[in-house]
């Protein structure tokens, strides 16, 4: 008995440092943000006071919040399906053609290990007006010169493409690992039965990849609301908020305008949004997923 009690205490003691870090730096700030969102922002001569839902009402009336929200939804819609589809396509291709060639995997993985700031700088060069790579190619074919990042019409597309490029390689690694866990004899059995490559993918490979797809999907949703590094480098939310994403807006409100309470309210909305998405995905997809 006492032996077991000691073991339990040891167990908790071992967990304690990590638990403490999580509580202090993750759980408590989340709770604190939630509480702060019901108070006014403290100023030099005016301490914070309880204002109820004022911050949330302000949000509903805030056109920039809605702009950031819609930008973010378009950004998510642009990055998630495309990056997953690309990742799947590349993984299947690599798996078929060049099984086990590590350098190919490495090549695809490179965008992931690069810091987003570095990635953004590379793409900044591609998108630069007049002498950027994209401009030169377009110019070579006699196209019209475009300021990709400076135009309201194209800026959001430009930052979306960067995100896709960064994510697809990362997700491909997961797909590739899952594909290599599928015994080759399944493919051979399907080939003997007369299944085409497409049928084999649709009826065998894709269903067996469902756990990976679920994992990748949730990650990509979270990333779509979390990835803002390249916004700082490439557009700073401009032109005229055309590329302001939710998290970037929270940063601006909190650390440029120093309206911390309003930023806390925005944060709560973002967290709630992510929680809902995660629950829906797990609830809906989990049931249709075959785990081996």
């Amino acid at each position: 008995m006492t032996h077991r009690a000691t073991a339990t205490i040891h167990g908790w003691l071992l967990l304690l440092p990590a638990m403490a870090c999580l509580a202090v730096f993750t759980h408590w700030p989340a709770v604190a943000s939630f509480i702060d969102s019901f108070y006014s922002t403290p100023r030099a001569r005016r301490p914070a006071r309880f204002v109820g839902l004022d911050n949330y009402q302000q949000m509903i009336a805030d056109p920039i919040f809605w702009k950031a929200m819609s930008n973010n939804l378009w950004f998510a819609l642009g990055t998630i399906p495309t990056s997953i589809a690309l990742a799947l396509l590349m993984a299947v291709w690599v798996n078929d053609k060049i099984v086990g060639r590590t350098w190919v995997r490495m090549a695809y993985f490179t965008p992931t290990i690069l810091p987003m700031i570095a990635v953004a700088n590379i793409w900044l060069f591609f998108f630069t007006p007049q002498y950027g790579l994209l401009e030169q190619i377009v110019g070579f074919f006699g196209g019209r010169s475009t300021n990709w990042l400076g135009s309201q019409d194209t800026a959001l597309y430009a930052v979306t493409i960067v995100a896709i490029w960064k994510e697809a390689g990362f997700f491909m690694i997961f797909y590739l690992a899952a594909l290599q866990a599928i015994p080759p004899s399944l493919g051979e059995a399907a080939a003997i039965e007369g299944a085409s490559r497409w049928t084999y993918f649709r009826r065998i490979q894709f269903p067996l990849l469902m756990p990976t797809t679920l994992f990748v999907l949730i990650n990509s949703v979270i990333n779509a609301f979390r990835m803002v590094d390249h916004i700082f480098v490439m557009t700073r939310g401009g032109p005229d908020n055309a590329t302001t994403l939710l998290l970037f807006y929270i940063y601006q409100v909190g650390f440029s305008f120093w309206d911390t309470s309003y930023a806390a309210a925005l944060t709560c909305i973002l967290l709630a949004l992510l929680a809902i998405v995660a629950f829906v995905q797990y609830g809906w997809l989990e049931r249709r997923t075959h785990y081996r």
């Binding site: 051979e188 003997i192 299944a195 081996r292």
Partner: protein
């Protein structure tokens, strides 16, 4: 329609030949066993027939049609894999009917054939289960079901029983053979287990290092082995093969003489353990071990440095270290050339 023919088929993996100039043919409705030790090229031969690998040279014909360059699905074959290769996310019914669906067999016929396969294999109660919910033997049956529902004239099996326990193996052996005969399937059955090959096959193709060692019916393979390798690979315990020179010096009775026209120094004598008698006269041998098996006794002896096993019915008294004399009958002897290791016709 379901005959099979391989003509001088070879397969190289970057230099080394895994299958080397293999030629054999199978009559429609027969079961041929590809037998041989691990790594001798059995699986590769089977995969060449299936079209999962491309021949480096040679030709393959199924039902009289050349299929050397045909895709696997265009050869009229079904295959049972060693690990069964069942689709883990599909139910038993979906697994079995997969090929029919892919080939767009009409719904009614599909259900019909599925039901018949299920009935033949006794899978009726398991149709909605996933493969992970089945025992090894049941998975094996599903794999068989997938092969027979295709109604392909030729069925290929790669060590289908190697993942089952001994008891089940004996049952499935009988079941597969019965099924094959009832449905009249031409079957190529890969195994490294000579008992499986001997009990199931109409014809055994014995392979070694990618080449065919002997191609014969089981009884002939046992009674008239073409090489020393064939003689020792088939039968347990294996045939005793000892150079004639050794036997001649150790005999206290009639000295064994080589048949006329053979060089006594260059031949080996083979004799099955059950065709030997321990008596007063004959070849002197030292007992090394005695194994009593109930129905018979195995007496392991040494003749100089050569192992020689005697198998006698019932219980035989002998103790290790004892010297015994082994009597041989001339009619039971097999003669081999020591150089080429091939059988000498006497």
């Amino acid at each position: 329609m379901g005959s099979l023919e391989l003509r001088a088929v070879s397969k190289n993996w970057g230099g080394a030949a895994a299958v080397d100039d293999v030629t054999f043919s199978v009559t429609e409705g027969n079961l041929v066993a590809l037998l041989g030790p691990s790594g001798c090229g059995k699986s590769t031969t089977l995969r060449l027939i299936a079209g999962l690998e491309q021949c480096s040279s040679g030709a393959i014909a199924i039902g009289g049609q050349d299929v050397t360059n045909a895709p696997p699905s265009g050869r009229g074959i079904a295959m049972v894999f060693q690990n069964y290769a069942l689709f883990p996310h599909l139910s038993v019914a979906e697994n079995i009917a997969f090929g029919l669906k892919v080939r767009k067999v009409p719904r009614a016929e599909r259900d019909d054939r599925l039901a018949r396969a299920a009935e033949i294999l006794g899978l009726g109660a398991l149709m909605d289960r996933k493969p992970s919910q089945l025992s090894g033997g049941q998975q094996q049956r599903v794999a068989l079901g997938r092969a027979i529902v295709a109604q392909a004239p030729v069925c290929l099996m790669d060590e289908p029983l190697s993942n089952l326990d001994a008891q089940l193996r004996v049952e499935m052996r009988r079941e597969i053979r019965e099924l094959q005969q009832r449905l009249g399937i031409t079957m190529v059955y890969v195994t490294h287990d000579q008992v499986e090959a001997m009990t199931m096959a109409d014809q055994v193709v014995l392979m070694r290092n990618g080449r065919i060692e002997q191609d014969a019916p089981p009884d002939r393979l046992y009674e008239v082995p073409a090489t020393i390798f064939a003689a020792r690979f088939v039968g347990t315990p294996p045939m005793n093969v000892v150079p004639l020179a050794t036997l001649a010096t150790r005999s206290n009775g009639d000295v064994l003489v080589a048949p006329r026209g053979l060089d006594p120094a260059a031949v080996a004598v083979g004799v099955r353990p059950e065709r030997t008698v321990i008596g007063e006269r004959g070849i002197a041998a030292d007992v090394v071990a005695v194994e009593y098996l109930g129905a018979d006794t195995l007496i392991e002896t040494r003749i100089d440095s050569h192992r020689f096993i005697v198998r006698r019915p019932g219980k035989i008294r002998a103790t290790p270290g004892e010297r015994v004399h082994i009597e041989l009958s001339h009619t039971d002897l097999h003669w081999f050339d020591l150089g080429s290791e091939r059988r000498l016709t006497v």
